[in-house]
């Protein structure tokens, strides 16, 4: 999921850096104030731990192995803001020293793996784990689900970044400048891979490590809570809802800003063509539109309504995003009910 250099155009990667700058500033402020003397070593070891986690191959049923990203695990263990710093640093070192992930795509990679992933995963985990004791079974089931949700959210976002490239940036002849695969390919490819394989690995790793720690040293599981935003105040589910809503709303914004920037750009006459194209691609990502294959290139299938396209597109995106969120929320809710019923059964019997 590490996006290399050359896959994303400047509009996308600059936007990603723009989004990350305030996030980094806020995260380091948070970490500094909560940890003070321990911040530097703890973040450094957290980052090194994330890095090494990515090297553990974990067997999955079916005879293959895969490796986890570990961002949700770090969020659970150290708190989500600490995870933002730790995973960002791990990604920076991978980029600069090991050539894993691009330098220009660094902001985008951080957005996916150091922000979207730990936060969605951590919210899911907190929501499901509730106030259960550190040693309870609910903790690790919650962690596994958190890992699954977090990884898929990150993968979705990465696929989205890939997928909008051909539409956002192409030359006069309509040939893609960067990643040539549109949303209709990028989204299903990433989704299938991550829903069926890597998501499972992430879930297994996150769940089992939390299970191991809850068995052998539950105290370690409580530090994450201590280092994370206070649980008091607004109920957690409200925070979750707010956060997810913000993410869903922000991403089209990320689309719009480059679109506005791009319109005045000297070396791209992206105007109507791109938007039409985007409008044609987007819903496809969610597997709904059968006829999209007609128009891989807008030159062959020009459409009208150029100006209206962006709002329409954003609307589509928000709608599908909201649907996805609802589906996940439903899943979490059902799992939670199932677990707490099992727990009360256990107490009753």
């Amino acid at each position: 999921m590490h996006i290399p250099d050359g896959y994303l155009g400047p509009q996308t990667y600059i936007t990603a850096f723009g989004v990350m700058a305030p996030v980094w500033a806020w995260a380091s402020h948070k970490v500094r104030t909560t940890l003070r003397l321990r911040q530097v070593p703890l973040m450094a070891l957290g980052a090194a731990f994330t890095f090494v986690i990515m090297m553990f191959n974990v067997p999955v049923p079916g005879g293959t192995t895969g490796h986890a990203v570990g961002a949700v695990l770090v969020a659970i263990l150290l708190g989500p803001w600490a995870a933002v710093v730790a995973v960002s640093v791990a990604l920076a070192v991978q980029t600069l020293l090991f050539g894993d992930g691009g330098v220009t795509a660094f902001g985008a990679n951080c957005l996916n793996m150091a922000v979207i992933m730990p936060f969605t995963g951590w919210w899911t985990y907190r929501l499901m784990a509730g106030r259960s004791p550190a040693a309870s079974k609910r903790r690790w089931v919650a962690a596994a689900l958190g890992g699954y949700v977090g990884l898929n959210a990150a993968a979705l976002s990465a696929a989205f970044m890939f997928g909008i490239q051909p539409a956002l940036a192409h030359d006069a002849a309509g040939r893609a400048l960067y990643c040539p695969f549109g949303l209709h390919i990028a989204l299903p490819a990433m989704a299938i891979e991550h829903l069926l394989l890597f998501g499972v690995v992430e879930a297994v790793v996150t769940g089992l490590v939390v299970a191991y720690l809850s068995k052998s040293e539950p105290a370690l599981l409580e530090c994450g809570v201590a280092l994370s935003p206070a649980l008091g105040g607004r109920p957690l589910w409200k925070k979750l809802a707010l956060g997810v809503a913000a993410l869903v709303l922000l991403t089209p914004l990320g689309l719009m800003i480059p679109a506005k920037l791009g319109a005045g750009d000297a070396w791209g006459e992206w105007g109507g063509d791109r938007l039409t194209e985007l409008a044609g691609y987007l819903p496809a990502g969610f597997g709904k539109v059968a006829a999209l294959w007609h128009a891989p290139m807008p030159d062959y299938a020009p459409r009208g309504a150029e100006e209206a396209a962006l709002p329409v597109l954003s609307g589509w995106y928000i709608l599908s995003g909201a649907l996805g969120v609802l589906a996940v929320a439903g899943l979490v809710w059902m799992a939670r009910r199932w677990l707490s019923r099992k727990e009360t059964d256990g107490i009753a019997s």
Binding site: Y212, K215, S216, E217
Partner: protein
């Protein structure tokens, strides 16, 4: 089963480094007590990893129980599992060796893989813990144990499979004299019961007489510098100086300084004009 290990011109280098072991040639007979002696970084741990089929020679040939050790042979049944059961390896760092959430699971790790029956395993776990006198630790997580207890648990996790060869990497490092003594006695007892081959890596000269009859001395050039009976090796100050295990030692006695080759296993008393007798 006469020769347990047979090394012929074995060299090994970590990726991207200079060789950590050069052209080692030696044999280990069944029931022998061999010590591998060398300064820090001379390649003792590397040699033990090669003996346990965890690393593989880049040139030369390693044979164990008559069979060549290769990445394939140690994985393929019947030799692979048999070899792993016969050879037990006590790591230099027992923290690394203990990776299960409780002592009981730690001990059950090996037997579980051999498909023993559950009751049989639990019985053996109890027996082994009893043998080492650590039955009270059964349900504790290994990381909360003291360093001496960790060593014992690590040893127990090897002994439960009744190995015929024990590879010990600095078994007494970091232990206080009493825990050291207890461990040495235990090893002595195990060897006394017969048949066990003991290979111990150490840089502690004082330990040698307790754990070995024969010594393999590794030089700082990562070659075998000598292969001698223990008593002769300890007596050979020139050899020990040449592999940098001892050095010309200066002593301050009050205001006086004098120097002579020094070896920490020996006590030598000497009087100075104004001073009292010293023990070093």
């Amino acid at each position: 089963m006469d020769k347990v290990f047979d090394f012929r011109g074995v060299s090994f280098a970590y990726p991207g480094r200079e060789p950590s072991l050069r052209e080692a040639t030696f044999e280990v007979a069944g029931g022998e007590r061999l010590a591998i002696l060398g300064a820090n970084g001379s390649g003792k741990s590397t040699l033990l990893h090669l003996m346990d089929g965890l690393y593989f020679a880049q040139s030369g040939e390693v044979r164990a129980f008559g069979q060549r050790l290769t990445p394939e042979s140690v994985e393929r049944p019947p030799f692979g599992p048999l070899f792993r059961r016969r050879a037990g390896f006590l790591f230099q760092n027992s923290d690394a060796q203990l990776f299960c959430p409780s002592v009981e699971e730690e001990l059950a790790f090996g037997p579980l893989q051999m498909g023993w029956k559950e009751e049989e395993i639990l019985r053996r776990v109890g027996d082994t813990l009893g043998l080492l006198g650590i039955a009270h630790l059964r349900d504790r997580p290994p990381h909360g144990l003291s360093s001496g207890e960790k060593k014992k648990v690590a040893l127990a996790s090897l002994l439960i499979l009744s190995p015929v060869v024990l590879l010990l990497d600095e078994p007494t490092a970091g232990l206080d004299p009493r825990s050291q003594g207890i461990l040495l006695e235990l090893l002595d007892d195990l060897h006394g019961m017969g048949g066990l081959t003991l290979v111990t890596a150490t840089h502690d000269l004082e330990l040698l007489p307790h754990i070995s009859d024969r010594v393999l001395v590794l030089g700082e050039d990562h070659r075998i510098a000598a292969d001698l009976p223990t008593e002769r090796a300890l007596g050979d100050t020139g050899l020990l100086l040449s592999v940098n295990l001892i050095h010309a030692h200066r002593h301050r006695h009050g205001a006086m300084v004098h120097s002579h080759p020094h070896q920490h296993t020996r006590t030598h008393d000497h009087a100075h004009g104004e001073g009292k007798d010293h023990l070093h």
